[in-house]
Symmetry: C2
Subunit: 190 residues, 2 copies
DNA sequence: CGCGACCGAATGAACGTTCAATAGACAATA
DNA sequence: TATTGTCTATTGAACGTTCATTCGGTCGCG
């Protein structure tokens, strides 16, 4: 991730928090400015409009997720371990960053997402997709539509985080492992 | 579901469509009124405010999902068949009602959801939760946290619908079955 | 001086909501 | 049957507020 001016970062992070608490509407630029400790006009020094601020925040957050996943995985891990690591990283990231989870979910289901170029989304998925392709080639996974496998990985991790945050269940490391195991059982070969 | 005045229904359904296309913000009451073929003031005859309109739309949609699931299940089905039926119904409902999917996802991740009483959400989950409890008691499912099982069912069905609608993959009946099978494999006992 | 970062009051458009007025349905009265 | 009163459903112009965005100006640094 390239370097980001301090104020720009402050604006991004303030927006994240406020969107979680108040939603897209309900988050006026004036409030973002206040929370970020800058003047209203300053935001427009870094972003063309509220819309582009939101878009950039989306990309910024995508990178943070990818980074989190890469951070916990090492070259020497075997396939299954890597799978668990990826699943857990993603889940943990969202649990540790509820603001991000909330924002991302709101974003992808909003009309903003359509305005977002398809390539941007593809780039994000490519890494996961390749990982799954490899699993099929090397006979770890059922030979199935790779996108479907993505569903299993992504949606379960995300929803686990959501449920955890909703306070309906408290999921310890152990239970997260169990969940990952369920997913693995669902897609592994045999 | 109790009878709903025609205009009220028109308002609800217009809101659903508009929220999908334009998001919560971006959907002014004036537009809702226009699409529903009523005057702006009429909305306030049926709903106290924009917020309560959105809340009621949420409950209304929840019932439609439950109804869809019940419609396709019969008393004489065995457990596994019932499981598949429920999963598929939910998935199909969202595929056939993309507006509803979009709206629900935006809603649950928005601050509206916090303002919604916990009971309302509980009531919706209760039926699924009981179904899973029964599966564990009767040794069809792994003896695990029932909420986690819910995650598997709910999130995968939902995400399958999402992916389908994003046009990334076209999922036929067959592929949906495969997905349901994956979920089943992940949670069944043995 | 010149330039980019930054400020924040001002602006104008958009929005949620209100309300006085109207129309229609129904019942009671004469 | 005609008349009156009441209540609900509906209208849409008007109101007051809020918000995204602008812009003239300040500051500090090279």
């Amino acid at each position: 991730m390239e370097k980001i001016a301090e104020k720009k970062k402050a604006i991004l992070e303030s927006t994240l928090k406020l969107v979680k608490e108040n939603g897209f509407h309900g988050t006026p630029m004036s409030q973002v400015a206040k929370k970020a400790g800058v003047a209203a006009g300053t935001i427009y020094h870094y972003f063309d409009s509220k819309d582009t601020l939101i878009m950039e925040l989306y990309l910024y957050t995508q990178y943070r997720v990818l980074d989190a996943m890469r951070e916990n995985s090492r070259e020497d891990m075997d396939y299954k371990t890597l799978f668990f690591s990826n699943w857990m990283s993603r889940c943990q990231f969202y649990i540790e960053n509820p603001d991000a989870l909330c924002f991302m979910e709101q974003f992808v289901n909003s009309p903003y997402n359509n305005r977002c170029s398809r390539e941007q989304n593809e780039r994000f998925q490519k890494e996961v997709l390749q990982f799954i392709e490899r699993g099929i080639e090397q006979k770890y996974l059922k030979p199935m539509n790779q996108r479907l496998m993505c569903i299993m990985m992504h949606s379960t991790a995300l929803t686990a985080a959501k449920i955890q945050l909703a306070g309906q269940v408290s999921l310890g490391e152990e239970e997260l492992q169990q969940l990952a195991q369920m997913v693995w059982d669902g897609i592994k070969l045999n």
